[in-house]
Symmetry: C2
Subunit: 116 residues, 2 copies
C-alpha cells in the first residue's frame, strides 16, 4: 500500500522530540545547531528527525549551503485539522452530555441536603 500524505504526516507527529521541534519552530526559524541545544540528543539524531519532518511537509529548509534554517510549514498541520473537523461534533456532544450529567448530580445533591 502506498503511503498517503496524511499517513506520512501522522507518522511524523508520532514522536515527542519531533513535536517539540515543531513547537520550537512555531516561534521562528532555526538552524540545526540551534535546534540541538535545547534537546539532549546528538546532531545526527536531530538531523534524522528533521528529515522525517521535511518528508512529511511539516518543515522546509533554506537553500544556503552553510546556514540552512528550518522553517515550520503549517499547511500540513491544517490538513490534520481538516481531517479532524467532522469529528468535532462528536467530542463536543460528549462533553455537553458530561456537563449535563454533572449539573444533574449537583442539583440532586443540593436537593438531598435541603431535605435533611
Amino acid at each position: 500500500m502506498t503511503q498517503d500524505r496524511l499517513t506520512t504526516t501522522f507518522s511524523a507527529l508520532a514522536d515527542p522530540t519531533r513535536r517539540a521541534i515543531l513547537a520550537r519552530l512555531s516561534l521562528g526559524e532555526a538552524s540545526v545547531s540551534e535546534l540541538v541545544q535545547p534537546f539532549s540528543i546528538s546532531q545526527p539524531a536531530i538531523s534524522k528527525h528533521l528529515k522525517v519532518l521535511e518528508r512529511a511537509g511539516l518543515i522546509s529548509r533554506g537553500r544556503e549551503a552553510q546556514w540552512r534554517p528550518c522553517k515550520l510549514d503549517a499547511a500540513a498541520l491544517k490538513s490534520v485539522a481538516d481531517w479532524l473537523e467532522p469529528y468535532r461534533r462528536l467530542w463536543e456532544e460528549r462533553f455537553d452530555r458530561l456537563d449535563e450529567h454533572l449539573r444533574m448530580m449537583q442539583s440532586q445533591s443540593a436537593e438531598t441536603k435541603s431535605e435533611t
Copy 2:
C-alpha cells in the same frame, strides 16, 4: 523513552484503514463482522487494527461476549485538536498572506488591462 499518550494516538492514526474504521464508527457503533464487510481485508487484520485503536483510546469495545460492538471514543481526537490549536494562527496567517498576494496580482493584472 516511554510512549506518551499523544504519540500512541498519532501512531494509531498513521494508517488509512484505521482512519477509515474511525470514519465508519463516527456514524454509529459496529461489530467486528460489520467492520470487515466494507474493507477487503481479513477479520484477523481488522481485529489487529481495532486493538491498536483501543490501546490509543480511540475506540472502546462492549462487554457482551458474543456482540462486542466497537464505539468511537472522541476524547482522544479532542486531545489531537487541542495539541493543534496553538498552530492554527500560523496556517491562518499563511492563507491570509496568500489571499493578499492573489488580490494584489489580480488588481495589478486589471490595471495592466485598463492601460492597454
